[in-house]
Symmetry: C2
Subunit: 269 residues, 2 copies
C-alpha cells in the first residue's frame, strides 16, 4: 500500500540516484512514515543547515515558496498598498504579511482565535487583525479596517470571506487565489455572488500553484535566509510529536486548532 | 429632468467649446432625445465618414473598443488557442470572435436562438456555435466543443455558464470579464461554485472597463477600418426606427430579442 504523502524533511540513507548521496538532507514529497523508498524524487537538497531543519517543511519549503511566489509574482505589490490576508496565521499567511510589511504596505489579517490574532499583531507585525468568528458582518469588518478599500487580497479561505472582499476591493485591485480552505470539506462549495465587482472595480483574480515557481527557489532563499537570521522575518510552528499524532493534527487544520505552521516531528534531528 | 443617457451619434448644431464646431459629427454619451445640450462632453469626433454612421454606436464605438481592449489587452491571446465567447452574437461578442479568427484561433460562441447561431457560423466565421437554451448540461456542451479545454473565455453572461466554463478551462487559461448580463435583473446574483478551479488550473480572471483603454482608440481605428472595407470583418446591426421604439428595444436586450447590435435610428443621416 502507498503511504500518505506529504511535505517532509529527511536524510538519505542510501541512494542509486546520482543526484542524491548518503547523508544528504532533503525536503520535499515524502511519506507519512519513518523510512521512505523514493523512486521518483520530488526533493530539494538542503544546503543551509544553520536553521531548524523543520523550517524546510514551512518557511524555507513549499509554504515559504508559495508565499513568495503568490505575493511577489501574482499580487504585483507596490509600496504603501493595502493588503488583506485570510487564514493569516498559517504557514503561508504569516509570511505574506511579513513580506508586505517589508515592502511598506498596510497589512490586515483574519484568523479564527484570540491566540492567532495576538500572534498576527504582536509577533508578525501586522497593522491590524480580526477574528472572523466574532464578526457578524464580514463586509462591515472589512470596511472598518479598509475604509478606502483593498488593493491586494491574498485568498486562502473562499466562500463568504471572498464575497465580502469583492465588495471592498479598490479599482485595479488584485486577488491572488492560493486556496479556499473553508470550502474543501463541503459537499458542494458555497456560491460566490459578488463577481460582478471584478468588472466595476477592474480586478484581476488569479489562481496559482507553487509548482510553477520553483525556478525562483534559489532567489527566494537568498532573500529570506538573511531576514531570518537578522530577525526581520519570524516564523511560528505548532509542533506535534510522533507520527501517531499526524491524523489528529491533519483534522485539526480544518477546525483551525493549530497556531502557526502545523509540523509533525517523526524523529529528532 | 435629465434624459436617459446612452451612446449615440450626433451632429453639432452649435458649440461654445473650442474642441467642437458646428457641423462636426461626434459619437459618445448623448441623451435619448432628438436634440441634446451637452455641457461636459464625453464625445469623440468622427473622422471616417465613408462607413455607415451608425457603426459609431457599435463596431467603431464603445462596443468595438470593448472587444478590442478585452481581447487583445486582457486575454493575452496566442495563435491557435481555443476561445469561447458567450452572448457571442452581440455587438462585442461578434467582434471578439472575428478578432480571434483573424489571429488563427479556434472559436466557439454561445447564443440564445437559431438565428443567432446561424449568424455566428455563417456570417461571422465562428468554427462552432451552440444555443445554450437547448443544452440541458452546459458542462457537457463545453466538453463537446472543447475536448481539450478552453484557453480563453470572453465572459458576457455570468452565472451557470461561468460555473460550467470553470470546469473546462485549460491550465494557465484566461477569463476576461466584460459583463454578466444573465445576472443584472436578479434580486441577488446567482452563486458561482467552481472558483477553486482558478487555483488548480492557474487561471487568470480579470474584469475590465473600456474607459481604461480609450488611449488605444486611434490604433484600433487604424486596424479595423481597413478590415471593414476589405470585408474581412463584418458587422450586423438590428435597427429599430424612431426614438419611441427605444424602451421596447432596451427591454428586448434582456430577453435576447435583438439579433446583432441593437441600434435605434432617431433621425436619418
Amino acid at each position: 500500500m502507498q503511504p500518505i504523502s506529504g511535505y517532509g524533511v529527511a536524510k538519505v540513507l542510501d541512494s542509486e540516484n546520482p543526484e542524491f548521496k548518503k547523508g544528504d538532507l532533503v525536503w520535499g514529497m515524502t511519506g507519512w512514515e519513518e523510512y521512505s523508498l523514493v523512486t521518483a524524487p520530488q526533493l530539494f537538497k538542503i544546503q543551509h543547515t544553520d536553521v531548524p531543519l523543520s523550517y524546510y517543511t514551512g518557511i524555507l519549503g513549499m509554504p515559504g515558496m508559495t508565499a513568495y511566489a503568490g505575493f511577489y509574482e501574482v499580487c504585483s505589490p507596490k509600496q504603501g498598498e493595502c493588503v488583506f490576508i485570510s487564514a493569516a496565521s498559517g504557514a503561508v499567511g504569516q509570511l505574506v504579511g511579513q513580506f508586505a510589511k517589508l515592502l511598506g504596505c498596510y497589512v490586515v489579517g483574519s484568523a479564527g482565535s484570540k491566540d492567532k490574532i495576538d500572534l498576527l499583531k504582536n509577533k508578525f507585525g501586522f497593522d491590524e487583525a480580526f477574528n472572523y468568528k466574532e464578526e457578524p458582518d464580514l463586509n462591515e469588518a472589512l470596511k472598518r479596517y479598509f475604509p478606502e478599500g483593498i488593493d491586494i487580497y491574498f485568498e486562502n479561505v473562499g466562500g463568504k470571506m471572498l464575497d465580502a472582499v469583492l465588495l471592498n476591493m479598490k479599482i485595479h485591485g488584485r486577488i491572488a487565489v492560493c486556496g479556499m480552505i473553508s470550502q474543501y470539506n463541503l459537499d458542494r462549495p458555497e456560491g460566490v455572488h459578488n463577481l460582478m465587482y471584478l468588472v466595476t472595480k477592474r480586478v484581476r483574480m488569479e489562481g496559482f500553484l507553487v509548482r510553477d515557481y520553483y525556478h525562483l527557489y534559489p532567489k527566494f532563499l537568498e532573500m529570506i535566509i538573511p531576514h531570518i537570521k537578522e530577525g526581520k522575518i519570524v516564523y511560528v510552528e505548532d509542533m506535534a510529536e510522533g507520527l501517531e499524532s499526524a491524523p489528529a493534527t491533519l483534522i485539526g487544520l480544518f477546525s483551525g486548532r493549530n497556531v502557526g505552521k502545523q509540523v509533525v516531528a517523526v524523529a529528532p534531528e
